[in-house]
Symmetry: D2
Subunit: 327 residues, 4 copies
């Protein structure tokens, strides 16, 4: 391919109450607020030199408007547009200046119905990684990955690997060899994008990188002390898949956020993807803890890149498994 | 009173398979094995200068033979014996040399039916606190507390405070003022002995002190990697009561072990016991996580100090609460 | 003895600039400010239920006005007063209400010339241990110990153990058996009071308890980000003596503060004090790092309990050792 | 360029006593020993799926035989060979099977005189990242970077960036704009290769990645308990440059090893290299600690890729700075 997707880079979330979101993301989790107005909140992690990695937009209903990838150069956006247009996908350009801090972006509804975005340019802002005097809450460093539920994981995996240049680090399959979930990366971590079998297209969660396991534990303590104990949905625990230490939260609109720390380097082209059996309880949580039903069933609605309407969902191709057996 | 109980100091547990116990306690959790023979295993933590804090005895059925307290001097044992005898409790002396590493001990069946033991002298052994080259698994430093289910918590609390000199750090009661659970201490930590309302007398768990929260997380990782993920019953999490970081394990015989780190100093005579409402979900786990049913219902049988028979249990005085509302 | 000293409880420090002190102690280290006026700052740690453990007083020159111990009951103050008066020590009463938050106190110039204080009553305030939303900087939990340089350590140790009821946990001596430094406790930790051979009487440092080693590392990061890298004098490191993880800071007036975490339980009357040879480099820092000269030579002046004048110092009885060989 | 260097991947060190090396690297630091014979020791970190990242060779004198980079495909080795040969650099092929676990490799003496190696194929071995039961000592996950002293940093930086495709994350220069030290990467971390001004060519240290700061602190404790306190040369501390938590050790032959944890993602092509002034004390250690003289002056000799003789060193182009001012 003639384009180079660098990494997952930002998400555009619709939220119903910006003040409630600010209290959760900024005051409690410690995200840096780059800019804000009465309709928008732009947030970033401590090491991020780009303007934002979360754009929260005031809306009537919660939804995911875009999962946004950074590409290596502006010219590649045209190549990507042509690639998707030729294949018959819906695409849409948003001109530079229409979105705060961003150059022009390309929106695409992907094969699973997910609203992707690609951009090359975002305003640079001060990196606050060594402003330890500003550290609060969860010490979030950067956006790490998107995890989506889709109808057909195997088809999505095939497209992302063969057409978009992603590599697979780990995957779950059935004894018959049907891919149940897959972890795909462009940057050299375990993933930028994971897909799991489920009612989709929906966004299951957005993952953020933290420096160490104690930062996640402190996040739990701060959340509980701030009245957010009900926002802690699952964890903290150790993932079997990825080996990361994790915590799943639900924001005030129900969007799921993962705090995530400590996977491994995936730089090598000869790295062999790690297979997990869908019936292996340790892939879910290495320590054996089961995920709650809500973690298994609930996810965020995604929007049509052209109309802005909610994208209807379908039942997944593979049988649903009990939460005990789902990553 | 004319005796001075120093602290909870050791437990005598009946186990059915010493090799299985060694694999769990020594090879995986990293307890130091002071001595062993074909019928016994004597274990201690890294900072302990006494011969052992766990005595595992081979037996046909799992049970708790004794919860043992260290007192300040040998002469006090006679005072304690007289105290309990006069009040009509069953007592029994075990002569020096009959139990490995121990001076003479006094066994007493307490008001709730729990098998207590008192001793003043235990052999000194090398403290291994700075032998970091020997640290394995959970980095257990020392025994911290006993937690027991009893029929009448308020009565037990009254006896331990007024007759045995314990102080209360925290307690849970109903809106009517009935004491549901209580944390009592002689040493200057949150507790040596906790009582909770439940089918009793039974031993709910034995708590051990760890140096920091990451030691508990590493314990989970090591347990899972060693095939013990099913032994992790609850946690890791933050206690509301005590503020400690905790993890509950079940040993191969079902005895419950708590790994525990980070409570606070209770040296002050004017410290006001902290009250928690039995319906406050944060007392259980500060982060709001519910305990599983097994944690609520299962506990270890205790033995009669004279006959060695299992002590029959009774229903608790107060209504049982759903696990969501139990510490 | 007929009195019961509970623990080291507060320090009264003279400082020259309250705003500079507040920026260091409150804004950067995260002490809780209980109360303040134009001449005073009253600070406490996160678990402290007493009004303050540091009283900073505006003054022309830095000095230590009092090292203050809590005793078990008000009546014991009279016993202590009589005890010191009979032995010919200078004593002075300060009436209830003259010091904010405090009952009556007794001031005594001890045998080494140190300005002690004893009190039984201090106002209770909210414990903030579970207000994790307020945690900042170093997460200081409570005051832990005083460390003083005195002319004759052996004499001081003898008095504190035999007349005041302290126990020794660890000590350093020469091959001839001369005590070079000693760690003495009333509460069940390694120390409330340490003495080391040096130009004295002077206060070497005040130690505060932190929950875990990462809290000390975060303190370094926050100090550096806040412009206080020059305030970090020694560490972080592991003590040989006490096994605690430590960091030494100098406050804006040069008073030395130790952040300290993770020693061990000293509840047992039969605990054998641990001996270290004055020439063993690991007692200083377990990892072998040498302390800088300033740590060895500099300490805070103490004041006369009656006149308020600076107490003149004397050369120590034992030879000074190179910093490499001093704790 | 028509080749793609993936990452720094292994080092070949000459050591004088393999048993002493094993005790240090395997028994104490916890490296995994993949294979060994009487002349060689092959070691790897816990997440490494390649055969080894350290090859220790028994020799009469300590030296560095090769700094080895993994490339994306075997065919690229020919391109690299042609590139260096055309430019007049000494090159040498080592056939597959001549080095244990390795495909064919290309050795090159680079412009500074450093002995580089390139390879595409190394045998795969079991990744032990989730074998927490095997974790010991420092919990080393993988090789991270090489740091070398060279005569002319600016020239080396220019070559690595413009001819070999490295990107710069951070650098130090003088007020006149002379580059004093530089951090260059191929993989998406702060560096694979750093150069600093100094008597060269010499290898200053080899860096290894650890999961979190507590792993470094535990490494210090284990080293000290194992008799290696003199092997701790500098740290633990926080780097200004890279923001990583660090510890420098000297192995039994004097080779310097850095334990390193927690830098940041460098995936973005528009990341602006961070400049540090050579006189800024915080770049060295963020907390302001000075490095000892030995850290500044001592480094490992490197060998000629053809003759195996020691490569003679030259004085650096820029003035040496006092240790206080060197990274
Ligand atoms: Ca930690
Ligand atoms: Fe995730
Ligand atoms: Fe407990
Ligand atoms: Fe101290
Ligand atoms: Fe380095």
């Amino acid at each position: 391919m003639n384009f180079n997707i660098v990494r997952c880079a930002r998400v555009v979330l619709h939220v119903t109450n910006l003040e409630a979101s600010r209290k959760f993301y900024v005051d409690t989790l410690g995200f840096i607020e780059t800019e804000a107005d009465s309709e928008n909140l732009y947030l970033r992690g401590l090491e991020e030199h780009n303007h934002h990695s979360i754009h929260l937009k005031k809306a009537v209903k919660p939804a995911v408007e875009a999962l946004s990838y950074k590409v290596a150069s502006d010219a590649e956006l045209d190549v990507i547009a042509e690639f998707f247009t030729e294949k018959g996908y819906k695409t849409k350009w948003i001109a530079e200046g229409k979105q705060l801090g961003l150059g022009r972006t390309l929106r695409v509804q992907d094969l699973s119905g997910l609203p992707l975005e690609f951009f090359a340019k975002m305003d640079h802002v001060e990196r606050l990684l060594q402003r330890y005097d500003l550290y609060r809450g969860a010490r979030i460093q950067r956006i790490d990955h998107f995890n989506c539920m889709v109808e057909d994981v195997e088809k999505a995996q095939h497209f992302y690997m063969n057409e978009l240049g992603f590599a697979c680090s780990e995957y779950t399959d059935t004894k018959k060899g049907e891919v149940w979930a897959t972890w795909l990366h462009r940057k050299q971590t375990v993933h930028d994008q994971a897909f799991m079998n489920g009612v989709g297209p929906r966004v299951h969660h957005i993952g953020f990188w933290l420096p160490d396991p104690l930062a996640l534990i402190h996040a739990c303590d701060v959340l509980a002390a701030s009245g957010y104990s009900k926002s802690i949905e699952r964890g903290p625990g150790r993932h079997g898949l990825s080996n990361a230490f994790f915590l799943y939260l639900r924001d005030p609109d129900g969007h799921r956020i993962e705090l995530y720390s400590g996977d491994y380097l995936t730089s090598d082209p000869d790295f062999k993807p790690i297979r997990w059996d869908v019936d292996d309880p340790m892939r879910q949580t290495f320590w054996g803890h089961a995920a709650p039903d809500c973690w298994f069933n609930e996810a965020s609605t995604v929007l049509d890149v052209i109309s802005g309407a909610e994208v209807p969902t379908k039942e997944p191709k593979l049988e649903k498994r009990k939460p005990e057996f789902i990553i």
